[in-house]
Symmetry: C2
Subunit: 463 residues, 2 copies
């Protein structure tokens, strides 16, 4: 946990912003795999964690009654019989002390407490739930029909929390750096140890192990694939062969629950082919160009479009595209090869606060999210501020289905040399991703640098 004052201050700011009502933050429960008591690794709710610092304990509710000033943790300490199974975990009262509040009540009192407050006419603010069990709990506790739970979420609470969590403090940056360094270790391992003949799963398994050993586990399902042209293709039992490109997008949480998210693309054999090198350098150039312009005040949507233009210019040099690059980007022709967004916010969540809604996290009332193919997958568009943490992850993805579809639709005919593109239908995909914090003047890389030029990656492959 951070020092007590961190949590006290975070809660004070929240209270000052909301001014009245009750904030209900449900902690997560255990998540069942294939029967009730067979659990996935426990993951605390990020906002619960942000305001209380309490991790690893399922079935807690934290409640701030802004009108009365009460801050109450509802939950149960281990019973004598539970000590047979789990020993004597730290008491909730001890966590309360470390978090700077004093009241702990048994779990079964949360319902009656809320009922009393609802009867008084107080408004209960809650975030949109993302697990079935949370939905059921909120429905029961607040007497809201299940189908209306989502609609009754508090946008005031969402906006207040986003405004706090989107700017990372110095102590959070220490944690994020650590998470990215664990993530970096996973990628260095993959680059050094992948060999032709191994399966995707074999390599992914080792990375999973590094993430767990790091203390926080996997931040998201590992993408480790020779079919990087499909954006979210998870590791399979496919064998990696000489000549394949391996796209690895993976990351870890650290012990404090902060995440890292990186991508490297490297050859399954010792070296890139000349063509792989050329395409790689186009992506890397877009990546570097984007990083150079990161600073407070620039809209990330502009950075995305700039990176897209660099991709188009590179593809034009390679003979796959033609015409004016600005016009191509304006027409969306780059989305034939770069179908997603340049990056996203990162913090306690890998797509930070994604469940609160991208319109609040990545956009503003003045800059709404586009519904166009490509831009609709850009999770972050708004003006950057100092202390934002985000990923930069341009890529080129030669998706054969999309190529066939767009060609059949006669789309982007002014900008795409489809005959040339046909030759890339077995090429795969390349992405280069790193994590940055926005500083007063620009940005800083999170974590220690890791090989990202063709030469440096080949050097790691050959060591």
């Amino acid at each position: 946990m951070f020092p007590k004052n961190t949590y006290v201050n975070r809660r004070n700011i929240l209270k000052q912003t909301l001014k009245s009502g009750i904030v209900l933050l449900p902690g997560n429960g255990e998540s069942s795999m294939n029967y009730a008591d067979n659990w996935y690794p426990f993951k605390q709710d990020s906002s619960f964690l942000y305001y209380t610092g309490i991790d690893h304990i399922p079935d807690l509710y934290f409640l701030i009654n802004i009108d009365t000033g009460e801050e109450i943790l509802f939950g149960n300490n281990a019973t004598p019989e539970e000590k047979v199974w789990i020993g004597a975990p730290e008491k909730l009262e001890s966590f309360a002390e470390k978090s700077g509040f004093s009241t702990v009540k048994p779990l079964d009192q949360v319902a009656s407490y809320l009922k009393t407050q609802l009867d008084k006419g107080l408004h209960v603010h809650y975030l949109p739930p993302y697990r079935g069990a949370q939905k059921i709990a909120i429905s029961n506790l607040l007497n809201i029909p299940l189908a209306e739970v989502e609609a009754n979420k508090s946008t005031a609470l969402i906006q207040a929390i986003v405004a706090q969590r989107e700017r990372k403090s110095a102590e959070e940056l220490v944690e994020l750096n650590e998470a990215v360094n664990i993530t970096r270790k996973m990628h260095e391992y993959a680059i050094r140890n992948t060999k032709p003949g191994m399966t995707e799963m074999e390599v992914a398994g080792a990375l999973n192990g590094i993430a767990v050993s790091g203390g926080g586990g996997l931040a998201f399902p590992i993408i480790l694939t020779k079919n990087g042209q499909y954006l979210h293709n998870h590791a399979t039992t496919a064998t990696l062969n000489e000549g394949d490109l391996v796209l690895c997008d993976s990351g870890a949480y650290n012990k404090m629950g902060y995440g890292g998210d990186m991508t490297r693309t490297f050859p399954a054999g010792k070296t890139f082919t000349p063509l792989q090198k050329d395409v790689y350098n186009i992506v890397l150039n877009a990546h570097n160009t984007a990083i150079e312009v990161l600073k407070p005040g620039i809209r990330f949507k502009e950075v995305h479009l700039l990176a897209s233009k660099k991709l188009v210019e590179g593809l034009t040099d390679l003979g796959l595209m033609k015409g004016n690059a600005d016009n191509a980007v304006a027409a969306g022709a780059h989305t034939l090869f770069f179908q997603c967004g340049l990056g996203h916010m990162m913090g306690l969540d890998i797509h930070d606060m994604e469940n609160m809604g991208e319109q609040y996290v990545g956009y503003t009332p003045e800059l709404e999210k586009s519904t166009e193919f490509g831009l609709k997958s850009l999770r972050l568009g708004k003006e950057l501020q100092e202390d934002f943490v985000l990923t930069v992850e341009p890529g080129l993805y030669f998706n054969p289905f999309l190529i066939d579809e767009r060609r059949a639709q006669n789309k982007y005919m002014d900008f795409v040399n489809y005959d040339e593109v046909e030759k890339f239908k077995n090429f795969g995909g390349i992405r280069v991703e790193e994590d940055f914090v926005i500083t007063k003047e620009g940005s800083d890389l999170l974590g220690e640098p890791l090989a990202k030029t063709v030469a440096d990656i080949e050097k790691l492959r050959n060591n």
Copy 2:
């Protein structure tokens, strides 16, 4: 997948048993970690998998209308846009063909189909759901209030499925052997590579990696701890030191979804202390004694009590217990050190079919589960049959809280030398666990043998 006939036969047997009504088998959805689209590894529902063979695809419903003979898979194939993200997965129609049924309908037709059947007065059988999202789905599809979903489960369906799944076929045993061999690899790695100075998490991470590389991932959260006296103590950031005993209880699924579950206890240093050796041998002796009597016809509760008696005899030799061993077990005095059950059924679930209810899986109307401390944690009590697969996992757990509590209660005074027991409050816990299939005459070990004597474990530690 197994050959088509496997699934056709399994469904035919189910239909013959139930005779009429509709069987609704919901497949699992993705399970959200800390926002909706950040998922834990997908785990298919075991009964859905057993009757269809379809894994890795979320959001499917399989439905057998026994009265009309219809077998329908409700689900959606990837849309063109989804192919950008995941490529072109195998079509549902292809899985249907491999599974031996012909009808695939879009997901959104499951509700109207069921409504029509309910209107006709047909009974819909379903299993008790174990995820919030499943509960909500069943409530909506069958128009049952959420609070009554559990009560309306079909005990006829539960009993029919248990009768099928509890006896493993030859082709299932091949898979179970593979799963146990992946599990064995995890344990051999742990015994060979654990060193003083490493954290529990570091070792657990590597084992997690081996499980993922094996193709099916972790079958349950890894218990890897120097505090083995707490039965379900998961790996923490605690450092393993010379002199510590390391209890590792972990297992993997194989590619077909079958699980393995083993435990080994070994010294963090190179050798056991003389006292650790003595206690280890008591557990090993109980383990071996239990294995010797495994065969069709014997109640597993008897095996549990026999193993308990062996533990008492060993503890008596060691000076911790006294008096007649049979009387001690009858009085439950062994539960001061062995608080749980000797084993459980294993298959597609590690605690096989646990969510259907232990009264159906592990007991019979003639042999109900005890509510006494100790026996109430024995998941399997009933007569063994050929082709049952189960774990044998006796242990001795010196839980300081329980020792204090029982002594304060003056419990088991005729059988326990509490002054001697006090000296073991820092000893830890020891468990030895392997997996067996019941054969015509006895039992066979699943997987290749792994060191389990003190000498063999020390040999592995020193290689």
